[in-house]
Assembly symmetry: C2
Homo-oligomer: 428 residues x 2
Amino acid sequence: MNIAAPSIENAGPFTRACGWHKLLPNKIVKMAKKIKKLGQDDPRRIIHSLKVGLALTLVSTFYYIQPLYDRIGENSIRVVITVILVFEFSVGATLGKGLNRMLATLSASALGVGVHHLATLFGEKGEPIVLGFFVAMIAATVTFVRFFPTMKARYDYGLLIFILTFSLVSVSGYRVDEVLHMAHQRVTTIIMGSFIAFVTCICIRPVWIGEELQNLIANNIEKLGNFLQGFGSEFFKISEDRQPLSDMAFIQGYKSLLTSKNNEETMANLARWEIWHYRFGLFHPWKQYVIIGILTRQCAYKIEALDNYLKSEIQTLNEFGRKIQEPSTKICSESGEALRELASAVRKMKQPTSVNAHIENSKTAIENLKFMLDTYDLEDANLQKIIPSAEVTLTLIDVVPCIVKIADAVQELASLAHFKTPATSVSP
Amino acid sequence: MNIAAPSIENAGPFTRACGWHKLLPNKIVKMAKKIKKLGQDDPRRIIHSLKVGLALTLVSTFYYIQPLYDRIGENSIRVVITVILVFEFSVGATLGKGLNRMLATLSASALGVGVHHLATLFGEKGEPIVLGFFVAMIAATVTFVRFFPTMKARYDYGLLIFILTFSLVSVSGYRVDEVLHMAHQRVTTIIMGSFIAFVTCICIRPVWIGEELQNLIANNIEKLGNFLQGFGSEFFKISEDRQPLSDMAFIQGYKSLLTSKNNEETMANLARWEIWHYRFGLFHPWKQYVIIGILTRQCAYKIEALDNYLKSEIQTLNEFGRKIQEPSTKICSESGEALRELASAVRKMKQPTSVNAHIENSKTAIENLKFMLDTYDLEDANLQKIIPSAEVTLTLIDVVPCIVKIADAVQELASLAHFKTPATSVSP
């Protein structure tokens, strides 16, 4: 198709190899750049990879060093498997998987041993039939349980391991004499592997998913604030002196949160496992973060409507536009400020102080706007010219109640999670 | 706190047990209802659970029946494990996991055997050091590769199994003499297990994730159409004769698609594995469904703005409202019809026929509206009373280009996937 390709295709093998030689460095450079970017975007990824390598080397010494091997024997390979399967990027995910695996193995082993003993009562011929029946029944039941949304969210891995271990113990119990011993070994090695994964994950530069969620929610609220403040200055000023919007990407940061619902829910589910975190502890209200996330998203949908006006061709402000300019900019800046303050409150776990003042200011601006809209003299006005500005105004009026809802939810979070009250507001 | 609780707490053990007895049936009934609902919502869940039970019973016969056991031996337990781990709800997920597991085991076993042979060259003392170095290095590298979004989407499970198998083969190779034999057995049992899972999954009432995705996308488009048609009749008519919106839930069905992005992407990734599906085949353009999904969502964000007007207190239509009523209802019904037709085209894989006509009708209605807005006499009008209706109108005008984009994307899908042309439009 292109000119370069046939010249390689038609050439001898040597020239062809040379041709590939010329293409190869390009590809390698591209790949290297991609890898570099992935590492630079989040250096914790590199640390995590090294941690996995370290944990595996640690655990495989069980196998290499004779005295250790003599103690645990061949089963130490199951410790290796557990470390690989349990080790995740965040502490929450690692703890969740590890605890799931441990509890599931423990309970399924017990059940497996029980069923095995029950089956032996039915004689040599009856045993495989009873075992087969129980394996099928329990596998089908637990598989069905995995469909429950609440179970799927937190215990999916555990339920899978439950089926696995139960089948393993009860099926292989048919051939192995010491079922109890086998089950016991399984449980011990899995506990050992999980603990090695936990220790490596928590002790070396841990990634707490709870902190991640807190930051995500705070950033999302802040992004809404950035948009409103950016919108206020861009829409009502640029229309007079139209310039390209330089920090459009910054203003439009909120777009990422339109579809982050699943992500936030998953993070909240994982964060619950991080019961050892020094800041959050056992009863941190992770659900409230999800609720704030939902409210933030509802606000973002409304903002999405405003964003269209930034992109569309805006005519210079007419008389009507100039009239609404001042209160509208006020709403943008005040509610943006309120959102930034809320974001900072969530991030620093401190009670917000001046949010209510900002919201009250926005409400006053809304009253001014409403009065103005009610009394505006429409004689000689063209509806199509007025409407874009009027629509922006009405949407802004609509956004403020959303922000009030977010503020209430943050306030509830603050009281549930006992956020610190700032030092200045302490009464004498 | 309440009255019933203390009476149980203070009573003797027998009465207490009776109290629980009374509470228990309630809980059981509730639970039973939940289970029933889960099964009724999607009866395929029950079938899937039974399929898993069946596959496990099938595969565990390897263990019970002596001649079969003699052939495969203890390793047959790995067949059981593979079936449990690979068997998923949809064919795509099962194939994806199975192929990932097979390929990863194959390549990692080969690499593990190679590294084992290399390590033996370094003598008895050097061997564990070389092995440890390779395990750490390869585990760290592959763990890092798992962070690449493209790899994570399709090969995450395979990469995990790669680390697992490589560590297993190279580490346990230190103690086992016949590394090659061990690796070979591993590969064979995993291939056997995967195939048993494939056959059970595909042959008994299979759930094709590709069909699910197609239906999801078609339903989403249809939900937009339902909203627009419902909105047209509700907003402009109910305002005259205000009644409760009976089918509000039906109209607001579109809300589910606001956050379904991740879901659609996951489904498209899984659908690619279903290369044996009779209707889609190997090169079905799954990416295009994701694109249509994105465009549908953009349209839904705009519709979300309209939805607010259904909820807010609507005053009876004023003179302005009556003037825009006819062209606005026209836009709603025509674009709703276009969307329904597009949905049906995606669902039935047939070229859409009358979509363009409907879109043209909407465009004509838009021109009428624009002309009306331009020439409307605003004398004696109150801006705040006019604006809600005017805003609805402008949003509707904004929605039509979105629908055109969806129509173009569906058209592209139709040509990429060779949708059938309807029999009626065949030229003589």
